[in-house]
Amino acid sequence: MKTRRLTTSVIQMVTLSAVTAVLLFPLLLTLLTSLKPAEEIITTAPALFPRHWTLDNYRTLFALRDFPRYLWNSLLVASLTAAATTVIAAMAAYALVWMRFPGKRAMGRSVFFTYMFPDILLVIPLFMVCYELALLDTRTALVLTYLSLSLPFGIWLLKSYFESIPVSILEAARLDGCSEFQCLWKVVLPVAMPAVAAVAVLTFVMGWSEYLYANTLITTNANRTIAIGLQTLAGYHRTDYGLLAAAGIVMVAPVVVFFLAVQKYLVEGLAFSTTKRPE
């Protein structure tokens, strides 16, 4: 019995390690490339690890006039998208699950309507809308566009989670003197932290790395996000791959940091016992 369990564990570990290695290899390759001097990157005898470790690519990257600006724009757009999505989706999901209003069911379903169209189909209409609203080439346009993409997902995820919270907890909160907003803020959100964290992480990543809309709606260098900025590093005749790799790593870093920060909530509490356990 014990041997079998050990064998299963070993097989699981080996399989998971193999999958992880395949998934992480491009990232590792990028990281190592970013730490190599140029002559070690374009060479007839490429090696995985740099012979001369260097941070020159990063120095060059941050010396570029626009690069910090791209980073800042991305951070701003992604954070605002994540924050707004979480707040709006939480309120919408709360209303859809626990409040009574006419057209509730229809509204709940129409939330998914935007998912019926492929992104590329929405590019031109959204461009027109932003043009009419004089929002072209603004970060506001990006945040609003991302919200229209992230909200259906956020609402759906939070709604499913909220539905698993016993309604008696909310009723207890109402009897304890909470308004609907306080019920959401003081009781529902803390209990639904894993789902809230998931929505925040996923919308942040989406806003951080989105390319299609950012490339269409933003036209000047000042408002570019890092996903678009990265493309400007690829030259027409010659590309500095070390620089590009460094930029890639810098782009991934905040996402990893953000994920690590909320990982605790994602994992913890999924098995949260809310009211009673069978004795």
Binding site: P166, E171, A172, L175, D176, V187, F272, T275, K276, E279
Partner: protein, 367 residues
Amino acid sequence: MAEVRLVHVHKVFDNGAHVLHDITMEVGDGEFVVLLGPSGCGKTTVLRLIAGLEDITTGEIFIGGRRVNDVPPKDRDIAMVFQDYALYPHMTVYENIAFGLRMRGMARAELQRRVVDTARVLDILDLLQRKPHQVSGGERQRVALARAIVREPKVFLLDEPLSNLDAKLRGHMRAELHRLYRSLGATIIYVTHDQTEAMTLGTRIVVLRDGVVQQVDTPRGVYEKPVNTFVASFIGTPPMNLFPACLVQEQGEFLLRHQDGGLALPAAKASAAHLRPWLGSTVIAGIRPEHACLHTASPAMGKGLPGTVEMVERTGAESFVAVRTGYGSMVVRVPPDLPVSLSSPVLLTFDAEHVHLFDAGSQMRIL
């Protein structure tokens, strides 16, 4: 503390289900009233209407003389203990108890004093820093009670608070609840489907069936004078035996004639004027297991209802024997040491003093 009054209350849900019909009842100041009925009879809905968690369709509810139909739950000054306790899982026991006071803006020192005092009363002082999932079921129950008590509300509403506990703990908590009730002098409305809880805790019992109040009376009144066959068979473990019999009058004496004999009703109990409308017709006779007698020695020795032993339930202090008769199965309470063997022929006799009579049509009590 306050009294609670429901006047002609109806509840129809959005799906058209009419779950409460014309509920009118009054719970006096400091009373412990138990709403008792089978699952789905609407007792929890009554509680939720009083709490304000559901809107009433028609009728009026008064708490402490104030009409509360349109008053939100938080302003009704009531506290409720839920069947699943509904503790906030992300808060410690202390925060759970303090939450209601904090929401009402109580000063920190006063709040702390009240929480600690309440925790002491319920013997959960050492749990205050734990989360709900770190304490046992019985302890969680106490926390839920503490959360209700700490607010010192006008009325306590308890929705099957003991149903998630094991039998031993339930007995213990029942005694504890009774002690709390006496020390608080609170108005309590308690929902249960467990008649032992109802009989031991309630000062009065409201028996509900299909959203209609059947009887409002003291536990003793409900047990000894059930208003209809439903209450008669719902209250009491095992339930009252019911069988059809014909009511006749012979030589000035009222007799219940059944297929295997008859039973004379005591003159003091049966008044001619009262029973006349049913003379010559079939009525439903009821007898509790403790008022029936089992004769095993010689089935031919006297008058009675013959039958065969179907099942013997020995609970320790007493035994219950189910006897198959011409009217179906009847249960008799016997001393634990009475030798009874399965399938043996027996004879049942009834204590006429304790016979209940019900109208065969309306099922309402006659005697």
